[in-house]
């Protein structure tokens, strides 16, 4: 099973869903409650992480449990961090919404 639990905008609130889980996920009115729920799900499993997808396509790794934290390299891409985050986020959300 995928180890990432995603928190992403959905309608007027925020959804929490694990990729490939098959269910519709949970819905919250605030991002704070959604993140708390995602953290709880991850904490219950042996290992996992929470990824927050912002409304502008930004990605934030909110919580990592039982996995090494991904480190930031001093070498940056000329493509732009925001553009990379947007592309990765859109692909992940497309997959989550089609599941």
């Amino acid at each position: 099973m995928a180890k990432t639990v995603h928190v992403f905008p959905s309608g007027k609130g925020w959804a929490v869903k694990r990729q490939g889980s098959g269910n519709t996920g949970a819905f919250f009115l605030t991002q704070k409650d959604a993140v708390a729920s995602a953290r709880f799900i991850v904490k219950k499993s042996a290992s996992g992480q929470v990824a927050i997808h912002g409304r502008g396509g930004r990605i934030a790794a909110a919580y990592v449990h039982g996995l090494p934290k991904i480190q930031k390299s001093p070498v940056k891409s000329s493509l732009g961090s925001r553009n990379i985050e947007k592309a990765v986020s859109e692909l992940a959300l497309e997959r989550l919404n089609s599941a």
Partner: protein, 205 residues
């Protein structure tokens, strides 16, 4: 007071030719997935610094080293071998041997395409940590994972097979990401690849 060396930077000293790229990219991915930072001579784009000086600086900043000597063979076009990998391996050993206390903590793995082939060309490295990846990216990931997990403090390192499976998923996603970023996969720089891997791992483990 000397600047401390980052504890999680890994110098990747590998061939940069097209045939080796699948293994190089896989090693970069594995290093990031294990919670480390991949460094390479490919990150150099500052024309004001002499190339060897830049390589020395990167080696100095890395506690760990992955050295692949599979390309120590005669070039079909020139009939000459390339010595860059072995030169940088020597610099790494020199740093460890003659450097200060921080540099003496350096550790490295040496990879080759075939077991014991190194004995015919650089037999002096006998006794070092030398492994064969058989020319496959999956084996390269597993060898790097097992070595790096053993050489560093235990910290929930994912298994080799798990990283291989994730890397294959990343390769499946790469064409779509490149399309979105208007860049061909073959044109990605080391910086592009590193940042794409970091960001992808934050949402795809």
């Amino acid at each position: 007071m000397p600047t401390p060396i980052p504890r999680n930077h890994v110098f990747i000293n590998c061939p940069f030719d097209h045939t080796y790229k699948p293994i190089f990219d896989a090693i970069v991915f594995a290093v990031h997935d294990l919670g480390f930072v991949a460094r390479s001579a490919l990150e150099i784009d500052d024309g004001s610094e002499v190339r060897l000086t830049k390589i020395e600086r990167i080696i100095e900043e890395c506690r760990y080293g992955i050295h692949d000597i599979s390309n120590v063979a005669l070039d079909a076009n020139t009939g000459l071998p390339r010595f860059n990998m072995t030169l940088e391996l020597g610099l790494f050993f020199g740093c460890k041997r003659f450097g200060d206390g921080r540099q003496r903590k350096k550790v490295c793995i040496i990879l080759d395409s075939e077991p014991y082939r190194y004995r015919q060309c650089i037999s002096d490295i006998f006794g070092q940590d030398i492994h064969s990846h058989g020319g496959t990216h999956a084996q390269a990931i597993i060898k790097v994972r097992n070595w790096l997990a053993a050489a560093s403090k235990p910290k929930f390192r994912p298994g080799g097979t798990e990283i291989v499976e994730r890397y294959n998923r990343f390769l499946n996603d790469l064409p779509a990401l490149c399309t979105a970023l208007h860049r061909r996969p073959d044109d990605l720089t080391f910086g592009d690849l590193s940042e794409m891997i970091e960001t992808w791992l934050q949402t795809n483990r």
